[in-house]
């Protein structure tokens, strides 16, 4: 079933080459004028969630995030965006219903902060992505949850700006790792390890994944993690035309960063 003009029956599928991870970026504000049109792609459950936001800004941002995720997944799978069905993993990690994901190969992860959206797609490996807009935060409350004591001490000795940069670098790496593992944030995550991967990505660890920093914009810190280490990243920008019915292309045309 396909509603509206977001059909995708004719254009070729997006392909992920072996070893590639595709990372897509967008700004919520670029798609704000099209939130109503994009809303038609959402499921009833997503409609309900969108309408539970207390502000129209939050509601529209949710609609845009979810519809862009559907449009990109549609381009990889060849399934109409409004026909995609999701389910939650054990700790809330969203997954595609198996019948829509042939051979269960495609994995994805999404993140948003402020106006920024990041989405990552990979075949045959778990992936997690996180983006954080730099902002004031009570870092001293958060750091003990996921950093070993020596790193908290290091942060304490930094000036405020360096500390904010480093804190969000560490946080985004940690979130990317946790999303890849699918285990969710737990108490004292990583504080029982001498060097968790988010503190020293190149140091040996037992997480079975690699985490790397992403350079999206100066006002953000972002990271991606994926199982194994034999992978490389291709960055794209989600074109605004993806949201333009009826003239927009029926498939995503990648705009290289």
């Amino acid at each position: 079933m396909t509603r509206g003009n977001h059909s995708n029956d004719t254009a070729p599928l997006m392909r992920i080459a072996p070893g590639e991870i595709h990372v897509w970026r967008a700004r919520v504000s670029d798609f704000a004028p099209h939130a109503r049109a994009l809303e038609s792609l959402l499921s009833q459950e997503e409609h309900t969630r969108a309408n539970r936001y207390s502000t129209s800004q939050g509601c529209n941002a949710f609609i845009i995030r979810r519809s862009l995720r559907r449009l990109l997944l549609s381009s990889y799978l060849g399934v109409a965006p409004d026909a995609l069905v999701f389910k939650d993993g054990p700790h809330g990690k969203p997954m595609l219903e198996a019948r829509l994901n042939r051979k269960a190969r495609l994995r994805f992860s999404t993140s948003s902060s402020g106006d920024q959206i990041l989405m990552a797609f990979a075949n045959d490996r778990e992936v997690g992505v996180d983006i954080e807009v730099l902002r004031p935060v009570t870092w001293e409350q958060l750091a003990p949850w996921f950093l070993p004591e020596w790193m908290v001490t290091t942060l304490t000795k930094m000036n405020a700006q360096d500390r904010q940069n480093r804190f969000f670098r560490l946080w985004s790496r940690m979130e990317a790792c946790v999303k890849t593992s699918g285990n969710g944030i737990t108490a004292k995550l990583g504080t029982d390890q001498a060097i968790p991967p988010w503190c020293a990505p190149s140091a040996p660890h037992e997480w079975g994944m690699e985490v790397r920093d992403l350079h999206v914009s100066p006002e953000c810190r972002a990271a991606i993690a994926a199982s194994g280490s034999d992978w490389h990243i291709r960055m794209f920008r989600i074109p605004r035309t993806i949201a333009y019915p009826p003239e927009r292309p029926t498939r995503v045309i990648a705009a290289h960063n």
């Binding site: 936001y53 207390s54 979130e175 946790v178 944030i185 108490a187």
Partner: protein
Amino acid sequence: MAAEQVRERVKEVVARVLEVDPAAVTDDSNFIFDLGASSMKSLLLVGAFEEEFDIKMDEDRALEVQTVSDACNFIAEYLPTPQ
């Protein structure tokens, strides 16, 4: 502490930490789905509850709490029973 007093203080903390209109915080509000709590905000919320009520909660269990009503019940476990 009376249950109603706990509920009002929980709602005040939720509105302050999640930066939402206090009027939007109801008993049934889900921190993530209704109030947009990120994982970072969820951790800050646990710390803010502990500070507000001067308690030390089981942090893993605290992170599983999803609604205002559930938070009130969970916090009540750590408070002296009203006479």
